[in-house]
Symmetry: C2
Subunit: 198 residues, 2 copies
């Protein structure tokens, strides 16, 4: 279920190819010069497109690094909704989030990206913004598990649990980066969750 299904329109295929090309170019430049020191003009001309076209593909410089967090969020949501109804909100959420650390993720690139986050405030900021989106995505399921009428009230409980779980995720990734990829991210995440729930 990945890598460019052939039964796609030409436009769509080139679009994806160009997008990938921009991403590769940009990540290379970021790794070489740092995120902030790299301008959109540099990325565009290195990728052989115009500055304007860059912004047809990505809403912001940050978006290149973030990848498709929206799609990732949807995947996690699906994993969450697939967990048995008998599991508590915390259990189901934790397990769903662990699907992010699949074997298909490229650890080296991930580590490079994680390192960028640590010295580019605007990147961290956008990332946290995305988590706010995820919060809404996961809320219905978590509310169901808590037995709250969905979306009806301004009940903070579901959102609090989700936000806490996402915080654990971020902390785990951060600790993983600090260990230079040596530590096991899932273990770190479990440790974080355990500490929060103790």
């Amino acid at each position: 279920m990945s890598s460019t299904p052939e039964n796609l329109t030409l436009r769509e295929r080139t679009r994806r190819a160009v997008r990938a090309e921009i991403t590769d170019t940009a990540l290379r430049l970021f790794a070489e010069q740092g995120f902030e020191a790299t301008t959109v003009d540099q990325i565009a001309s290195a990728a052989g497109i115009s500055r304007r076209s860059f912004f047809h593909y990505f809403g912001s410089k940050e978006d290149v690094v973030m990848g498709d967090l929206e799609a990732l969020g949807l995947r996690v949501r699906d994993a969450l909704e697939a967990r048995p109804a008998t599991e508590t909100a915390w259990e189901a959420l934790s397990e769903a989030l662990k699907t992010l650390s699949g074997p298909d993720t490229d650890a080296v690139t991930e580590l490079e990206i994680a390192r960028m986050y640590s010295d580019a405030p605007s990147l961290r900021a956008k990332h946290l913004e995305k988590h706010l989106r995820w919060q809404e995505l996961f809320a219905p399921d978590v509310e169901r598990r808590l037995g709250i009428a969905p979306g009806a009230t301004a009940d903070p409980r579901a959102r609090a649990i989700i936000a806490a779980a996402l915080a654990c995720l971020d902390i785990a990734v951060e600790a993983w980066r600090e260990s230079d990829g040596a530590a096991d991210p899932v273990e770190l995440f479990d440790a974080a969750v355990a500490a929060v729930r103790a």
Copy 2:
């Protein structure tokens, strides 16, 4: 311990006065036109200073709204360290954070600010950034309470608890804003914490 001690140099006093003046002007404009629709030029000329001077007082447009979150963080840290050593990390943190909701806070202004957050992404982003700073501020005390050697390891536990507590705080404020200030923020916070720790 507030409002312009008189034994201060003239420069310092004027500096504070100007800063306050800019803040008032800016908040008024933000309330009238919205945060994003208000430009720094507008704020500067409405406050009777040059655009350049504005940036001598505030690092960014967002900073005007945020106030002195750094100082606030220090206050919370002090409150945290003043809690009895017998309290758990969660207990101490919760109580320390509740000092933010003192009787001296102007609910009307706070509500207006909270509303701005909800429709200005850059504002939310900067706010979350500040919380990252708070995390470092609170970490030593929390590590002590957990019995972790301070700062030595990449142990995620202290950071996770702090991040979770701050998430509860944000969620509580958000819910409070949604209730238009009707609900009790401390109750909302407690509900959030209870849900997370359940």
